[in-house]
Symmetry: C2
Subunit: 487 residues, 2 copies
């Protein structure tokens, strides 16, 4: 598929600021911006980052074509020399990012852009749009997959998604976070992920009766024969008719490999248990019972606790919109500006009355610290890029706000891994995105680095995200100096 | 821009059902599907329908290209003759729809598809995806615009939207429902709507100090000079520095046409009133105070009640995701099948334990009934297409559930208007979509046909949607007959 030109997918102020930098400053002044978020959606203890491949595609394809320039000229606020600059625009900076499918925590840079200020400013909106969306859906999906305790979750939300991209890239994020398939055929084609689905009520209604409709479906798709049982009366006609068709298939010698029913309404706990008994009694203990109908992680969890006889779940609206929390609050903040004389980065900080909203300055990276024995995450450490750590030394972690809360890690008890990896170097992409199904495998392993206490749906245990001693002092100093100058 | 091929933007089951129809039935059997919704989002009394232009583009461009066919072949579930059929696929049916920007109510067909069953089935998912998304955002926006009591609302949500389309087509829907502009440049280009925006905190932070940053901005954009005042200390430095710059502009003889400040944090009621006084006292009573920061209709309403001195509002996340209710529950249901011998439509009904979920059968349209004197909506009447009404006769309306609740309209006291208009005839588009800004004007007039009691944010007065006598009896008969056969 032809890549879409999303260059104008930006807020107008990025362009007005760009022209401002072009006019007022050294346009090549190199800066660092961090894209990070402050709160996990849904009270979760972690998020799953996703969307990097689409960010890469976006940056690779960044260019203002003639029609874009013509449109901008028509706005009457841009000068010809600036439009000429845009016409020749190409991203020339560096980008670092955390690979897709990684478990991430608040305040960690998910994407770090080091580029001339005009370029770094332009890409803000699209990077946030893409990362916010896919990370949101991946995080929501991980909760739903967790609630299903090993059962398969199918992504069925396309018709309720917020537009075509929300459906398609939402399906991508859902696959990354553990869905076993999606109903979205375009997502299947674009990302080479399994597509799933059987039939709708309209199939049943378009035949003279339910039994005829079931028979027609079974004849066509005997090897994946899931019959929708609730069009008229689930236990009164749907399940008995399905059993009759399965019996006819068996009598005709057709192998029953993957078959069963789907429930899309009613009391799923009660009906699934009754249906299970009917199917078992009729000699079909391996018939699958799948369910859909406005499911989310809480309903699935509750149905599991009630002993519902459902082992396959189609989840639509609540997954594809992340209904309880439909936005991921990623922001993009200036962290440093390079001094053109020394070539060193001068750290920048954004103040706020709210301590949590004060940004972390400087050129940073993230070290993830694992317990050597279990492989579980102990904490993340946001630090400066030039800091060196040695797992053979002891490591002192402390809470960046309540600094008296300290943890001491003895040498040899922990391992470290740097999360940010190079994506673009001098405008050239140096990273190859894995296939979605490979990211899915990686994401599964990532989630296994969390204790179940951090995965539970309500009030999970939070993972510490600390600052290195050096970063903490740099930040404290900047905060102090600000108060001196403002008084 | 090259139209995107969204043909595979569909659920897999649409294709498996299509193959089923192809194999098992007269593939040319003509059917009627209605796209409608059951509940207004956010407890609203109405919705604004939107997205029709994109539905038209989608249907016009429907075609399976070689790569699509190759992908489907690879799934191993479709036969060659069916793939051949898809390769030659072209939509050949009729579509009726309610024009974009119209006030609509639950259970009314927003889109009606009359087509061979295979075609009508295929388009289900994309039609719902598009209409659900844009109608959701238009409806949310109409609430926010209502809360602002005539102040301008700017759509600023792109970075938090659920992907590129959600940002771009969401901006389109927001403009339809009354926003005065969007920050999304791509939306501005695609839909010829005003784009708005000034600068971010990063602009301020990239200069040595706030005053220098303000001066640089004012120099560049003197005729639209809105300065972001909250980077360091809104009342302590932001507003005084802005005033200093405005004074410098005045002293230099630069006309202050559109200028002022933007507040993006803190207690907006308190700060805006203080800032207003400071601006007024300094001789800038016409300086605009605009605000952003996680606003929604309730916050704007509350700030208005508190007397906040804000007259321009930037609304992002909560608008572009419809945060309190991020999905519009549009569904697509079979309403009739043509008898191939008689050429007449046989009405079809979908039953449900929940009376509200029982569908309305038959080939229907909607008559909107207005009070002749005020032009306000009295009720909508869902009826069959061949029913005739005459405003010169009296009209009896009755509640379709509690049928003893009746309203009698005397001749000459009401007017009627049919809402569904032809969009496609025999596969050819017969409708020209108005420009977005024209739809916006129409939508404004549409909302004026509602009493304020139906527009208020909480517990609004609901408008009656009744069934015609003829449709009501057809439905009752179908319900009865179903119970006879199932017993």
């Amino acid at each position: 598929m032809e890549p879409r030109n999303l260059t104008l997918l930006t807020d107008l102020y990025e362009l007005t600021m760009m022209q401002g930098y072009f006019r007022e400053k050294d346009a090549n002044e190199t800066v660092i911006f961090d894209a990070f978020y402050r709160t996990n959606p849904d009270g979760n203890a972690f998020s799953i980052c996703a969307g990097l491949e689409q960010v890469i595609d976006y940056v690779k394809n960044l260019h203002f074509d003639d029609a874009d320039i013509e449109y901008l000229r028509g706005l009457g606020i841009f000068d010809e020399d600036f439009l000429e600059y845009l016409h020749n625009f190409k991203f020339s900076g560096d980008i670092y990012a955390i690979p897709e499918g990684t478990v991430v925590f608040p305040r960690e840079p998910l994407v770090k852009v080091i580029a001339p200020i005009m370029e770094a400013q332009l890409v803000e909106t699209a990077i946030l749009n893409i990362i916010n969306h896919q990370s949101l859906i991946a995080t929501k999906t991980s909760r739903i997959v967790f609630a299903a305790r090993g059962d398969g979750i199918m992504e069925f939300g396309l018709r309720r998604a917020q537009g075509a991209d929300a459906g398609t890239y939402g399906a991508r994020a859902a696959m990354i976070a553990g869905c076993i398939g999606t109903s979205n055929v375009l997502a299947g084609k674009l990302f080479d992920v399994p597509v799933k689905g059987t039939h709708a009520h309209s199939w049943i209604m378009s035949f003279p009766d339910e039994l005829t409709a079931f028979r027609a479906y079974a004849k066509l798709y005997p090897s994946a024969c899931i019959l929708l049982a609730d069009t008229y009366d689930t236990l009164g006609s749907g399940v008995p008719n399905a059993i009759r068709v399965f019996q006819e298939m068996r009598d005709a010698g057709i192998p029953l490999t993957f078959y069963g029913i789907r429930l899309d309404s009613g009391d799923l706990a009660y009906i699934s248990k009754k249906a299970r008994k009917m199917l078992d009694d009729a000699g079909f203990p391996d018939a699958v019972i799948s369910a859909s109908n406005d499911l989310d992680e809480y309903l699935i969890d509750s149905l599991k606790i009630q002993g519902a006889a459902i082992t396959s779940w189609g989840v639509g609206t609540n997954l594809i919109t992340s209904k309880d929390c439909p936005s991921f609050g990623g922001v993009y903040k200036l962290a440093a500006i390079m001094d053109r004389h020394t070539g060193k980065f001068i750290p920048k900080i954004k103040l706020s009355e709210n301590t949590e909203k004060v940004t972390n300055p400087g050129n940073k990276t993230i070290q993830r610290i694992y317990d050597k024995e279990t492989g579980k995450i102990i904490a993340d450490l946001i630090c400066l890029v030039d800091e060196e750590f040695d797992e053979k030394n002891s490591l002192l972690l402390f809470d960046p706000i309540e600094t008296w809360k300290k943890t001491h890690l003895a040498p040899g008890t922990y391992t470290m891994r740097e999360l940010l990896v190079p994506i673009f170097k001098n405008g050239e992409c140096v990273y190859e995105s894995p296939k979605v199904m490979d990211i899915r495998e990686y994401c599964k392993k990532e989630q296994e680095t969390l204790w179940d206490e951090s995965r539970r749906l309500v009030n999970p245990h939070e993972i510490h995200v600390d600052l290195s001693n050096e970063l903490w002092h740099m930040k404290a100093q900047l905060l102090d100096s600000y108060h001196y100058t403002s008084n």
